[in-house]
Symmetry: C2
Subunit: 316 residues, 2 copies
Amino acid sequence: MAARRDFTRESLAAGVRAGDRRALARAITLVENSDPLAYEVVRDLYPETGSAYVVGVTGPPGVGKSSLISTLVRHVREQNRSVGVITVDPSSPFSQGALLGDRIRLADHFLDPEVFIRSMGSRGHLGGLAEASLQAMLVLDAAGKELVFLETVGTGQGEVEVIGIADTVVLVLMPGSGDSIQALKAGIMEIPDVIAAKTMLNEVRSVLSLDKERAWKPPIVLTEALSGENVPELWEKVEQHRAFLEGEGLLEQRRRENLAGEVFAVASARAKAHLERAVGDDPELRRLLGEVQSRKLDPLSAVREIMDKVFKVSGA
Amino acid sequence: MAARRDFTRESLAAGVRAGDRRALARAITLVENSDPLAYEVVRDLYPETGSAYVVGVTGPPGVGKSSLISTLVRHVREQNRSVGVITVDPSSPFSQGALLGDRIRLADHFLDPEVFIRSMGSRGHLGGLAEASLQAMLVLDAAGKELVFLETVGTGQGEVEVIGIADTVVLVLMPGSGDSIQALKAGIMEIPDVIAAKTMLNEVRSVLSLDKERAWKPPIVLTEALSGENVPELWEKVEQHRAFLEGEGLLEQRRRENLAGEVFAVASARAKAHLERAVGDDPELRRLLGEVQSRKLDPLSAVREIMDKVFKVSGA
């Protein structure tokens, strides 16, 4: 699919700045394709970013994250705030088939010029999902969106990296989503900032109380995404978390840490992609792999030789 | 903690070959510490590996994977087969606190000289968990263990890489472990080879039937890990899967792919570790990160400069 080059670097950046929907859509498509133009435009826009507040919404697939975001968007639209939504969950109704209720609810927002919704494909990004979602978020930030919702399933390295840019992380749980609670317990899932759950989950409380050191105690809000019950209360907790971060001077610190984490995540993903390409293209490296497979050369020795040849890194 | 150097490269390799428990324990500790001696010993032993059959046991934390492995171990010990167990699940009773029933059951095996059980810490490995568990598995393989069980939670990049070395993957599900089923549905979790579940899960069936192309249809076995119910039937399915792979000449192919995957996983983890170290040590790279944080330099430009400087890779 050849991209139509009707936008120049300057006109695309100007269009994004003005919040023009066509420019936004084009810029994010270019981001998804790892197009050099996207890189240049985000580079130009970056100094103007940092105004958007990024709310990560995470939780197992099918738990109702999209419905919740949809009702949250309606709630903040009543306050006249402009909104962007980025979803990287392959099971999200934003991405594909949705229940009738969802579809109608989402459709409301698709018609609202102050709401921009985009789902990111999960394949083909040079620097992984972290890169694509970070760049898309920066585009929405530069476009003046006051709030950006970032939807992603909670576990998985890539997912953790995506959510790593959020200012506030909301975890959505359902009764019976035992895996998530176990994952919290086992320390596999990061402790979120706010929890939306359908019923009071004593198990979650007990996990959270283990972490008494935290100055911010993650509140649990009983929320029914489909009916919208307690959604204003949930949003209030997000705002309280934001006020807490800002009041303590922690927002700046969190953002600094988040940005460093994203740089490492993107660089690592690029290193991996580069590695796979290099081995694919190089008969000598493919031969090394063959020797591992025929049990002549042990895997770590092969790794060392590959690292040395591809990255000029010895003994890493 | 200084390692006692009573083993030489030769005596450690010889001890592992002989299946000596002290040598095995030492070798795996050295693997965990990324000790050069472990690297050398595995390198020496590697040409002798490939006899062990590796059964990955995956599923959400707390679902009963350890109990199931424990009963499977008892079952295969009745066939007089030697066994190794590696667990990388932080919530595993093998790793830490266990229910009384688990502890007694596990204790049986700790006294059996033909069973070697080791839990791997999840931190501090140069090449990540994939490297540590791969190397530990190769040690057990070289020690003549006929079967190696590899326990890990199912989601998360690191976990997927750990399970990536298994010849047969068993997924353990409980009623209410909805996250796992949703993760299967959403394609976030790889389709396993055999499923152990407490009740017939129509949802799982419907996910599996979507993948009609597979020559091997993953069977679902109703298994009660704690009581040991249907554990022989579950093992029978693992053996059937093995026979299928061997009969079709697919085992060799799967192992080739698995080994290549592990080499990439380990190399990527090492690249990431190297990157973080390099940035930490280099004032110029830290300055780049600082410019990102002060919104002077966009993240991708910083990534490019870091990749260029650390890996001598341009434009990756």
